[in-house]
């Protein structure tokens, strides 16, 4: 079987005397394997020492390692001296990261291929067989361990002295709760504090109605939006345009005459008469499905599409969902124009804004 060494007769069964001077190192290796129940059944050099083939392989591996050195040096040189600071336009910095990647990649790949070639081509091929020793734990051992554990349990005597068990349990339960308490107690936060799930930045403050403002904070006059147009508006309060009022962004739409009429009619049907001002309607931009901004407004069909999961809302019919996974219409913001001619919210939204939840009324 083994192509290496045939001498000292390796008798099966009795272990070899590893101090026998006649043994080669491989004999000892094989004896070690045998003691671990491994039989090396096939061990065969892939290249003959001193041949052209061997020299060639050695050259290949060496070339890989040298390439690594070269690429790694190139990486360092580029890392240190290449202009890396960002400048707009076509600076040399555009090539900084790609060059680092290429040099580092080549360095690592070359050392990898070098090692692989060394291991796969230069080292002898072998087939060894090892016993799995599965189910090797004798039934007797199982029994002994089982009995030992049962004995331990018996010694504790919980069966004979039940009070110990009961009192331990009663004592430990609260300890478990103690471990959980700081985490739960620290993290818990009332979701309905200040009625926060039902209110937005448009809730009137001190009887003052809140203006609708643009991204830059400027208020909006009706004339600012042409028919068929729409803009995103925010509550005109401090930080109204920031993520602190993540539920407040609203779409203010100037509907065309016939769409506005249909819209008003449908509004009245739902008891939302007076929510529009003239031909203007304002709907929450936060999708009632998963909370993405439903921001793709299709002027021709008056549909609002949410780009995250493609729910579509029909603006002219109370923004009710007509396609996709959303099941609830976008809440409508009642609007009017104040004495100075700017849009204000008549009141806050009358339905909760954003994704649905269990206790939504």
């Amino acid at each position: 079987m083994s192509s290496q060494t045939g001498q000292p007769a390796l008798s099966d069964g009795e272990p070899l005397d590893v101090n026998d001077p006649r043994l080669s190192r491989f004999d000892i290796v094989r004896e070690g394997a045998r003691r671990d129940d491994i039989e090396i059944v096939h061990y065969e050099p892939q290249v003959v020492a001193g041949t052209k083939a061997e020299r060639r392989l050695v050259r290949t591996v060496a070339a890989f390692f040298l390439l690594t050195g070269l690429a790694a040096t190139a990486f360092l040189v580029i890392y240190i001296w290449w202009p890396w600071e960002y400048e707009p336009g076509r600076g040399g910095d555009k090539f900084y990261t790609p060059l680092l990647g290429v040099t580092l990649g080549i360095a690592l790949l070359a050392v990898g291929f070098g090692i692989l070639t060394w291991g796969k081509k230069l080292l002898p091929k072998e087939v060894s067989i090892q016993d799995r020793h599965e189910g090797a734990v004798p039934a007797e051992d199982r029994r002994i361990t089982g009995e030992t554990m049962a004995y331990m349990a018996e010694e504790l005597g919980v069966k004979r002295r039940p009070l110990l068990g009961v009192s331990l349990l009663a004592g430990l339960l609260p300890v478990g709760a103690v471990a959980a308490a700081p985490l739960v107690g620290g993290l818990i936060s009332d979701p309905h504090k200040d009625n926060q799930m039902m209110t937005t930045g448009f809730a009137p403050r001190d009887g003052q109605k809140i203006r609708l403002v643009r991204e830059d904070g400027r208020p909006i006059r009706p004339a600012d939006i042409s028919a068929g147009g729409q803009i995103t508006v925010f509550p005109g309060v401090e930080h109204g345009v920031s993520n602190r009022y993540a539920d407040s962004p609203t779409l203010l739409i100037h509907l065309r005459e016939e769409d506005a009429e249909a819209s008003r009619r449908n509004n009245e049907r739902e008891g939302h008469g007076g929510y529009m001002w003239g031909n203007y309607a304002a709907y929450s931009k936060i999708c009632t499905h998963a909370g993405c901004p439903a921001s793709l407004y299709e002027q021709q069909t008056n549909r609002l599409l949410c780009p995250c999961h493609q729910s579509q809302f029909l603006i002219t019919d109370n923004a009710k969902p007509i396609f996709g996974p959303a099941s609830r219409r976008l809440p409508q913001l009642p609007i009017e124009v104040d004495a100075e001619g700017y849009f204000v919210a008549t009141s806050d939204y009358t339905e909760p804004v954003g994704p649905d939840f269990w206790e939504r009324p």
Binding site: G32, A33, R35, D36, V41, W84, E85, Y86, E87, T97, L100, G101, V102, G105, A107, L108, L109, G112, F113, I115, G119, K120, L123, P124, E126, V127, I129, Q130, R132, G135, L187, I188, S189, P191, M197, T232, F234, S242, N243, Y245, A246, P249, A290, C292, S295, L296, L305, P307, C308, G324, P325, A326, S327, G354, P355, D356, F357, W358, E359, P361
Partner: protein, 539 residues
């Protein structure tokens, strides 16, 4: 004082003796060095996951030196001109700094992201290998469970990491995650308020995700990976059937030196590929997305690939809202089913599958030999069914992009996904089952009648027949048993083709005998094979 001569050659021996005197490692070390591993290319898929994880740890530590995990609002004043003067969170600003103002920071960020994607991909492919070959069967159910958990913990690691930069895209993902938590019946709003400390987005979520991403989740991953590898080591690797291979042994190479060297080389190759990807392929260019603002989103917002199936299932879900008319009324939103219930079911099925199959087959024995997918058609069918299900959902996760690029109606894409999700998986099961049976039949046929030689012989009565090369020397057909391993089906597998001469410009060695790898059945070329090539000489 007389100075003793220092014997360099004795140093290793003396050191080894000194170590062994103290720790008694000689015997266990020998066992370790001698441990036999079976070899097959498909056993390396899991290693890719392990190696990517190491790269993740290395690059991740680098990133923590520069990342600032807070949502404090700052005005950006770094090198990237288009965003200068923009108010943004410190997390986003420091991510921009890593990309533009830290030397070599961008490649580290990109390598980190790519290795995360590779990590998840390798886990999935490895899992498929284990599934299709039946490697999860007793005694390895525990390791299958750990592996499945690794996918979901990896998912968590990916999502928390992806959310950290607080850019426009990841913020939208976080918004959806908050909506998913909100959709859980009864406790939804409490869970969301606990995680975000109030309403979305709050001011603390990035800090919480940060500690989860750099400590809690990686800690869990390290623990699970260690247990996974420990069990592979303890239970020994499975192997393909083949000559000399039984359920009670392992046939392969000893761990040292060749096997270990190949592993080391492979790690370097994986690392090198990640470095190339990190340098050459842009990933998650957060500076293009801008800071997260609740009202900004663009079309074609896709998450990382392993999250896309959930995005897809969410898109396909019809608008079925359940109203419970008690008191003020309660709601179960449609979002709950595809994002909480579906993953829950998937986790449950994947964890329990080994036990369900054992129960179904009433097979409670230990199996250390792998099965070829064709030999267990129902399992292979189920696997392909699951892949089809996953692929449809993943494609649907990008259905807006597909609709846009191919000028298909978006609504049509959604409906195609809905119908396809119901029809295609069972169809895939049926087709796979039939293909498996066909392959099985062909194996039996070759074993019974031999390999097709491509030689057409004309019989005296004018008929043409193809000559077959029987695989056994026996006279009677069908005496070879199928043993669950590759059946040679081409003449060159039988040595009919001369071995290739190696060397680029000139031969570097004498043409060797046809190499027969130990994994292949010991098929010897028949002595009378010359006779076949000259077909007409035969009676």
């Amino acid at each position: 004082m007389k100075r003793r001569k220092f014997d360099v050659a004795a140093v290793p021996g003396n050191t080894a003796r000194a170590v062994d005197d103290r720790f008694q490692v000689a015997t266990p070390l020998r066992r370790l060095l001698n441990k036999v591993f079976p070899d097959h290319w498909s056993f390396l898929l899991g290693e890719i996951a392990l190696f990517s994880f190491i790269v993740l740890l290395l690059t991740g530590v680098f990133l923590t030196f520069f990342f600032e995990p807070t949502m404090t609002e700052v005005i950006y004043n770094g090198s990237y001109a288009p965003l200068r003067g923009t108010p943004m969170s410190a997390a986003y600003a420091s991510t921009l700094d890593i990309s533009f103002d830290v030397r070599g920071g961008l490649i580290m960020r990109q390598m980190h992201h790519w290795s995360a994607l590779l990590f998840m991909a390798a886990i999935v492919v490895h899992m498929l290998r284990v599934f299709f070959t039946g490697a999860f069967r007793k005694p390895r159910e525990t390791n299958w469970i750990i592996g499945s958990l690794l996918f979901w913990v990896g998912f968590l690691a990916g999502f928390t990491g992806y959310s950290l930069p607080d850019d426009g895209l990841s913020g939208t993902g976080l918004r959806i995650a908050s909506a998913i938590m909100l959709s859980i019946p009864v406790i939804g709003s409490w869970v969301t308020a606990a995680v975000f400390d109030g309403e979305f987005p709050g001011t603390i979520i990035i800090s919480r995700f940060y500690i989860a991403h750099v400590l809690l989740v990686p800690g869990l991953l390290v623990a699970l990976i260690s247990a996974h590898l420990g069990l592979v080591f303890k239970q020994k690797h499975t192997q393909w059937p083949g000559p000399g291979r039984t359920n009670g042994n392992v046939v392969g190479e000893r761990m040292f030196p060749r096997y270990a060297i190949k592993q080391g080389g492979f790690f370097m190759v994986v690392f090198g590929v990640i470095a190339l990807m990190g340098g050459l392929f842009q990933i998650n260019p957060v500076w293009l997305f801008g800071p997260y603002e609740a009202w900004v989103v663009s079309a074609a917002s896709q998450p990382d690939w392993y999250v896309m199936f959930l995005d897809g299932s969410t898109r396909l879900m019809p608008d079925w809202e359940i109203n419970i008319p008690i008191g003020d009324g309660y709601v179960i939103p449609p979002l709950f089913w595809p994002t909480v219930v579906l993953p829950g079911i998937l986790v449950g099925i994947s964890l329990l599958y080994p036990f369900m199959e054992a129960r179904h087959l009433k097979d409670y024995r230990s199996h250390n030999l792998l099965q070829r997918p064709r030999d267990v058609p129902f399992r292979t069918g189920l696997g392909v069914m699951a892949i089809t299900f996953f692929l449809i959902l993943t494609l649907t996760g990008a259905n807006d992009v597909i609709a846009d690029k191919f000028h298909i109606s978006l609504n049509a894409m959604t409906w195609a996904g809905r119908i396809g999700l119901l029809l295609l998986p069972p169809l895939a099961y049926y087709v796979t089952y039939r293909i498996c049976l066909g392959l099985q039949q062909h194996d039996r046929e070759v074993l019974a009648h031999g390999v097709e030689t491509g030689i057409i012989r004309r019989l005296p009565d004018g008929r043409f027949v193809e000559v077959h090369q029987p695989l056994s020397a026996g006279k009677e057909h069908g005496e070879l048993e199928y043993v669950g391993w590759v059946v040679p089906k081409k003449m060159n597998r039988l040595g009919a083709l001369g071995p290739a001469i190696r060397g680029f410009f000139y031969p570097i060695e004498k043409p060797a005998e046809a190499p027969v790898s130990p994994g292949h059945p010991p098929v010897e070329p028949r002595p009378d094979r010359e006779e076949i090539t000259s077909g007409e000489n035969r009676p």
